[in-house]
């Protein structure tokens, strides 16, 4: 069941009413059933996988909490991590490993080719596995008590708004909310509705419209430098609107049900450095890697060389988390390299404040533009079908100057669509700039109801008038 389907609208509406009709004490129950129905609508068999992840981390965390000896606690945590990572590796990475081994065998001319396993990738496996692992580590660190109520914990792992594409919730944030009264207020309802409509706007009006052009160009073997540039620029906004649109719908849906999910995006294309970008992009994943991998590796309190090595390793793994392909590893690695480069002045001259001129508005705007260009260029690796295509695109983009006559359109994506895309991107960015100033925040609980209502009306009209209804899946479902 896709968020951008009418089935989901009815599903959420029915669940909202059922949720309101259920006594507070039992409200977790319809949410849990609905979450499993939501996942089963994609694949019934794979609900067993979520159940397995839930059971293993639930029992493991209880065991960790009941054990006093540090060594035994470590063993139990190791077991939980190993079991869940094994499931993730088998279902997501095993064919990637087999393919890489086969390539290696061919290159050294030894060993026979291994047969791929061809498992269907369970939707959202990376998200719920990381959520369960985070919980186990939190219990091990005594940051959170182990949840004894299996229903609450099962709902924590499987809560449908964030089940298939995040945000990757923290036990400290979500579990206590499941215990509390999930009370409804008009302001909460209104802000949730605004977020849902904003999500639909981003997905149906911008992302799916851009996807037509991006898919057409990236699906070809050959394109002109200008077409690659435009397609890459469009992909930059497509993936942002697709993923943040999903997140908006997820957070909005959860808010209708009385639960606040963590923020996952904060205007990432207004970041003034790559480091800043990762504070604003997929926040739940970047903070997960920070809390559960980067800091245990030593964080910033290590030698400069080790720090850079850690950054590269963490971001290469972050890339691999996104997909089982070398292009994703390279994408993560490239971000690691950019972060290392950005950190160099701080590492080499610690404690030195940047010159005042560096904080002028003009310089800040140039920085934002520069970061956007770098991030957009890195998206080529993310979107390319393989490393060969990515390198071809980079080579093509390097052959400037760009010729405007090289841009061609067809019946499926005409000049009008192109202009629509530019107009909507401008509208979105203008709106984000406004939010950056702090004058208006759509995600806020307590905004003016009149403003919210006006925003809902405008968004609804835009979605109905300009939405593309092709039922495209969200890009991050594949991760």
């Amino acid at each position: 069941m896709l968020f951008n389907s009418l089935q989901y609208v009815f599903f959420l509406g029915a669940l909202f009413l059922l949720h309101q009709a259920t006594p507070h004490r039992w409200r977790w129950a319809p949410l849990l059933v609905a979450s499993y129905v939501f996942y089963a609508s994609w694949n019934l068999k794979y609900t067993a996988l979520i159940l397995f992840t839930t059971l293993s981390s639930y029992t493991g965390a209880l065991g960790i909490e009941r054990t006093a000896a540090k060594r035994r606690r470590q063993i139990l945590l190791g077991a939980v991590v190993a079991i869940n990572l094994a499931v993730l590796i088998v279902f997501k990475y095993v064919d990637f490993l087999i393919d890489s081994l086969n390539r290696f065998f061919v290159s050294v001319q030894t060993g026979g080719p291994l047969e791929p396993m061809d498992f269907l990738l369970p939707v959202g496996i990376s998200f719920y596995t990381f959520q369960a692992l985070g919980y186990a580590v939190d219990v091990y660190r005594k940051d959170t008590p182990a949840e004894r109520h299996f229903g609450f914990y099962a709902l924590y792992v499987s809560f449908f708004p964030q089940l298939v594409a995040g945000p990757i919730e923290r036990s400290r944030n979500l579990l206590p909310q499941l215990r509390q009264r999930m009370a409804l207020s008009h302001a909460r309802f209104s802000s949730g509705l605004t977020l849902i409509l904003l999500g639909y706007f981003k997905k149906l009006v911008i992302a799916d419209r851009l996807a037509v052009y991006v898919d057409a160009i990236y699906g070809r073997q050959q394109a002109t430098p200008l077409e690659w540039a435009v397609a890459t620029l469009f992909f930059s906004f497509q993936i942002y609107c697709d993923f943040s649109g999903y997140t908006n719908i997820a957070i909005g849906s959860a808010r209708l049900l009385g639960i606040d999910l963590m923020r996952n995006f904060q205007r990432p294309y207004l970041a003034a450095s790559v480091r800043d970008f990762w504070r604003r992009w997929h926040i739940s994943l970047s903070t997960w890697f920070r809390d559960y991998l980067y800091i245990p590796l030593g964080g910033n309190r290590v030698s400069p060389g080790r720090l850079m090595l850690n950054l590269l390793a963490v971001f290469a793994l972050c890339g691999l988390w996104h997909g089982a392909a070398w292009t994703f590893v390279a994408w993560g690695g490239l971000h690691g390299v950019m972060l290392c480069a950005g950190n160099l002045p701080r590492i080499l001259r610690p404690g030195t404040a940047p010159h005042r001129a560096w904080s002028s508005p003009l310089v800040k705007a140039a920085k934002i533009l520069g970061v956007f260009v770098l991030v957009t260029l890195a998206w080529v690796l993310f979107r390319a079908q393989d490393m060969g295509q990515a390198l071809d695109i980079y080579a093509s983009l390097a052959s400037l100057p760009l010729n405007p006559g090289e841009l061609t359109f067809n019946a499926t994506f005409g000049l009008l669509d192109f202009n629509h895309c530019l107009a909507f991107i401008a509208l979105l960015m203008g709106f984000e700039c406004l939010m950056e100033t702090g004058r208006f925040d759509m995600a806020a609980h307590e905004g003016s109801l009149r403003k919210q209502f006006a925003a809902q009306y405008v968004l609804l009209m835009l979605v109905l008038l300009f939405g593309t209804y092709t039922s495209n899946e969200f890009i991050y479902f594949q991760f």
């Binding site: 089935q7 309101q20 309802f189 209104s190 109905l464 008038l465 939405g467």
Partner: protein, 342 residues
């Protein structure tokens, strides 16, 4: 009102009411009360009205299937020389067809002798309105639900799978209805793509009234666009093609009115059934007092036209249009010969 649930529901209702008011307001305020493709065609027809002998009035099935160039060449090869005009309009209802005919006749075309109606137009409830504001049949709830009942009526939904199928059908129809309610009388926004699209190669855009929008699609793209197996769908339709059911008294009356109007103005009306449309007509020349050119035969559906000739399960593509027009020329020549004979 202190109950937050009631407040929230009221909020939703207010939003829906505002939306409905906007839709109604925009529909009223949008200039041009006619369906854009109809207006375009009528303007186009006006330019060549005095050279046209035969006009085809029907739905998008006509629009996509009849290529006047191929048809006229086929007729000329059989000794029949006439010029034709394809007035197929997407989603045309019977009553609207009457409106189309009356607007054509208002132009007083000098040579017009024949009018060919499609038998399987849509039974819309706007049928009696002569100043019709065209909005596609499936987008109107008041049309949708009777249609849906007709589609599913008589079936026994006993298994869960059938119920799910029914729900799926309802959702898809409702989705189409909801998401397209703001087309604003097929107004300025969303139909532009269709008119920006290039014409089918080989057919003359404009004067012949034959437009193709599907030329940019490859078979792979169509398969992506319609995930269900197109060929399978077609094969199922071919199997179901032979039996026919009655037209229904109300729609038979509409057709009879159309035929009477044509005869009153000195035209020779003909009816034509399109491939794959078994449900709503009855081959009863005595009832309708006219000749039916039946192109809905297993030979045409199963042999002459193959899945490669289809744009989707209902409409033909460019190649299909030419193939169909060649077949039509053959049959039409016979019909016209019989008319000419004493």
């Amino acid at each position: 009102m202190h109950n937050p649930l009631l407040k929230s529901l009221f909020h939703l209702a207010l939003l829906a009411a505002l939306l409905a008011a906007t839709v109604a307001g925009l529909r009223t305020a949008t200039p041009g009360r006619e369906y854009i493709s109809f207006t375009r065609k009528l303007n186009d027809f006006t330019d060549c009205k005095d050279s046209v002998d035969m006009v085809f009035i029907g739905t998008s099935r006509f629009h996509r299937a009849i290529d006047p160039t191929t048809l006229e060449a086929g007729l000329a090869a059989r000794g029949v020389h006439l010029r034709s005009y394809n007035f197929g309009v997407r989603g045309l209802c019977y009553g609207e067809a009457m409106y189309v005919l009356s607007r054509i006749l208002d132009q007083e075309p000098a040579r017009l002798r024949y009018v060919v109606f499609e038998t399987d137009m849509f039974p819309g409830n706007r049928a009696k309105k002569r100043d019709t504001l065209k909005s596609s049949y499936w987008r109107e709830p008041q049309t949708l639900w009777p249609q849906l009942r007709q589609d599913v009526g008589g079936r026994q939904y006993r298994s869960l799978r059938q119920v799910v199928h029914l729900a799926d059908l309802a959702f898809h129809n409702l989705k189409a209805s909801l998401t397209n309610m703001l087309y604003i009388g097929e107004g300025p926004f969303l139909l532009q793509w269709a008119w920006d699209a290039p014409a089918c190669p080989g057919s003359k855009q404009g004067e012949k009234g034959f437009y193709c929008f599907e030329m940019e699609y490859t078979a792979q793209e169509i398969a992506k666009w319609r995930p269900r197996n197109l060929k399978k769908t077609l094969a199922e339709k071919i199997k179901r093609v032979v039996p026919t059911t009655a037209l229904g008294a109300k729609n038979a009356l509409y057709i009879r009115d159309m035929l009477d109007l044509a005869r009153d103005r000195g035209l020779r009306p003909l009816l034509m059934t399109m491939p794959g449309m078994p449900r709503r007509y009855k081959q009863d020349p005595e009832l309708l007092h006219t000749r039916i050119i039946n192109m809905n035969t297993p030979e045409i559906m199963g042999q002459a036209l193959s899945p490669e000739h289809y744009f989707n399960a209902v409409h033909l593509n460019c190649a299909g249009g030419r193939r169909f027009s060649a077949l039509l020329a053959e049959r039409l020549a016979t019909v016209l010969d019989q008319d000419a004979s004493p």
